[in-house]
């Protein structure tokens, strides 16, 4: 499929950036998400204890976000967890999505990236306490909490495939405490 060729090339860009810890490309289903999480779990011992929990948390949020919110029609996704140089851990995940979700997410990430730590904390507590659940059981907290726990702004990359189809790639960064 032509779409997957484009995505394959993007995947190759990401896996060539650094030292790969866990990489995956495949269909978005429970079995594959489980597999990737187990792989990540098995590699956490490579990192300082202080950062292991953050890594796992981010990976869970990214993978579960894909599981719940990615396109159900185009199910190919990728996940790349690598180390750039000695000190930067990069976690990236890419999935297909439609135009309206893409615009919502893009806007959300852009707004989050403008907040300082205290503003982020205030937003997190407000959303936590707002008694609202999304239809997938989440509550709008995922990106806010990922942003709060990571060290640089969330990077949003994308490929516009047609008028209504995008491939979105999120990346976050953590400082590897050696």
């Amino acid at each position: 499929m032509e779409l997957d060729v484009i995505i394959n090339n993007k995947y190759k860009e990401y896996i060539q950036e650094g030292y790969n810890i866990v990489i995956f490309q495949g269909n978005n289903n429970e079995k594959n998400v489980e597999y990737v999480l187990n792989e990540i779990d098995s590699k956490l011992h490579l990192f300082d204890k202080k950062i292991r929990r953050k890594i796992f948390f981010v990976c869970v949020e990214f993978l579960q976000n894909i599981y719940h919110h990615a396109s159900k029609q185009y199910t190919n996704f990728f996940f790349v967890f690598n180390v750039i140089g000695k000190h930067i851990i990069k976690i990236s995940a890419g999935n297909y999505t439609d135009k309206s979700k893409f615009e919502q997410v893009k806007s959300k990430i852009e707004q989050l990236n403008l907040l300082n730590y205290d503003e982020m904390l205030k937003l997190y507590r407000m959303v936590l306490n707002n008694n609202e659940f999304s239809e997938k059981g989440g509550g709008g907290l995922g990106f806010i909490d990922v942003s709060r726990k990571t060290d640089l702004p969330i990077d949003l990359n994308y490929v516009k495939l047609n008028e209504n189809l995008y491939f979105l790639i999120f990346s976050v960064f953590l400082k590897n405490k050696i």
């Binding site: 929990r53 948390f57 997190y124 507590r125 936590l128 659940f133 989440g138 907290l141 909490d145």
Partner: protein, 126 residues
Amino acid sequence: MNKLEIKGTPKTPSIVLDPTTGKLEIKGRSIPENAIDFFKTIVDWLDEYSQENVEHTEANIQLEYFNTSSSKCILDIFKKLESINKQEGKSVVINWYYEQDDEDMLEAGEDYQSILKIPFKMIEIE
């Protein structure tokens, strides 16, 4: 009223809710894809428990990780406990355990502490 015990799994915490002693325990990892389904059992149990005449309730929460899907469900449970604490002749305390150097779990406890009006103790463990 019956004790509720749910064994932990790689994605869900162990739960022990004892109406005789008033001790409630949630321990382990909480990363289910849909936390509402998992935590509903606990919420329903607490609704029934709130009608019992148990003077003092102690909730011990010791989580290794929890996803954001769990965050709101956990707050729901705490709000049930808050309502019980407001009942005449009853008291509730929540003990939030976090490992030494686990800043994220400490912060998560502070998030809940900032929202709730109930005794909420942060307990560091090694």
